[in-house]
Amino acid sequence: MTFGIDSRDIALAGAALALLLGPSLRASEPIDPGRFETLHRTIQPRPDEERWLQIPWETSLWEARRKASAEGKPILLWEMDGNPLGCT
């Protein structure tokens, strides 16, 4: 009598293992390393999306007040829930 493992046995073992591990909930595919750089660049802002950052925004109202008084200028305050430079 001989014992062997054929492709049907392997398929059954694989199915049993999958049942033991549970179904994967995820659908997303791994990211292709060859596309990494392009993808990383695509997500970052383009220069035309950052024109508002050419304004030299201060991030401290107190420091802006001191600077305004020293330079003789009024203050322009952009106050939002979520920092305008950091949230959206």
Binding site: R26, L39, E49, W57, I75, L76, E79
Partner: protein
């Protein structure tokens, strides 16, 4: 006009309206002269003011450039009518802030790293020829949103292997994995996003492998995935993100410092939060890109949106 005629400044109102120090009192004094009032709820808006705290003009929001320009012109007219003594004051220019309300003031962790985080709604290749080609979706949340990931000194030092050899696996602290997935794999392209609760992290894995070693440099590859969903039955979740991650981390060996932290998360997102209405229907690709910055630009030192409760952000 904003750059030349004014001192422009931004503020996160969630902190600013709460802070109990001279800066908070100053803001409330200014806001009290406008339609927001100085007490209670939100003080959001665009203010022009004098250094001694007189409101010149207020506008709720600045989406209409012509209207905003007119508001700024009127403010400048009012400013120019003030006597010189009101416009320049050596006393104010040297006034000390005094004790800062640390509960509502955030600075990057000492010795830590700042990682810029951009998020963008993407579209798959329109021709359908290549499902792996993505482009921006302007006007539909396609503009890049921004936030910052803070890594403490203890966090980033844990990523540096003592004796690196190719193929070696580096364990990423669980707190770093949780911080990234819960607070930075979010759709903030339309406003303040809801963050993921701990119980909403269905899967989260990240591995860091030594890929290349030279006398000067070590390159590590980060691979991971995350499944985030508001329901354990993901098919029924009204909000979710099913993403893969890939990244490159580089270490300068002589200084034992991290010089590159480029990571991408890509996957399908669905659903919206109370302040992010108007999501695209169904599941659509959302990309998140991480990159190291040195913090020399004040804009890069803005606190992570999720750090309002700082201990919970650092140890999620």
């Amino acid at each position: 006009m904003a750059s030349e005629d004014f001192i422009p400044v931004v503020g996160d109102d969630w902190y600013q309206r709460r802070r109990q120090d001279a800066e908070g009192e100053f803001l409330r004094k200014v806001a009290g002269q406008g339609p927001r009032g100085g007490q209670g709820g939100t003080l959001q808006g665009i203010y022009t003011l004098t250094p001694d705290g007189t409101l010149l003009a207020y506008k709720n929001a600045g989406q209409a450039p012509d209207v905003m320009r007119e508001v700024l012109r009127n403010a400048l007219d009012a400013w120019n009518r003030l006597p010189e003594s009101r416009r320049r004051s050596a006393a104010i220019a040297s006034e000390d802030l005094g004790t800062v309300d640390a509960q509502y003031d955030r600075t990057p962790p000492e010795g830590g790293l700042i990682v810029k985080v951009f998020t963008r709604a993407l579209e798959r290749d329109e021709s359908g020829d290549d499902p792996n080609v993505y482009s921006c979706a302007p006007g539909r949340g396609g503009e890049a949103a921004r936030d910052h990931l803070w890594l403490t000194e203890e966090d980033w030092k844990a990523l540096i292997p003592e004796d690196p050899t190719p193929g070696q696996m580096i364990s990423i602290p669980d707190r770093v994995v949780r911080r990234i997935v819960r607070f930075h794999l979010v759709d903030n392209t339309r406003g303040e996003p809801p963050f993921w609760g701990d119980e909403e992290v269905r899967e989260a894995t990240m591995t860091l492998t030594v890929e290349d070693v030279s006398p000067d440099r070590v390159r590590l590859r980060l691979v991971g995935n995350a499944l985030l969903a508001t329901s354990a039955d993901v098919s029924q979740a009204d909000r979710g993100y099913d993403a893969s991650l890939l990244g490159v981390v580089e270490i300068d060996r002589p200084s034992r410092s991290i010089t590159r932290f480029d990571v991408v998360a890509l996957g399908d997102h669905w659903g919206e939060g109370p302040y992010t209405r108007g999501a695209r229907p169904g599941r659509s690709p959302l990309g998140v890109a991480f990159m190291l910055v040195d913090g020399s630009n004040p804009a890069d030192r803005i606190a992570p949106q999720a750090s309002r409760f700082l201990p919970g952000y650092l140890e999620p």
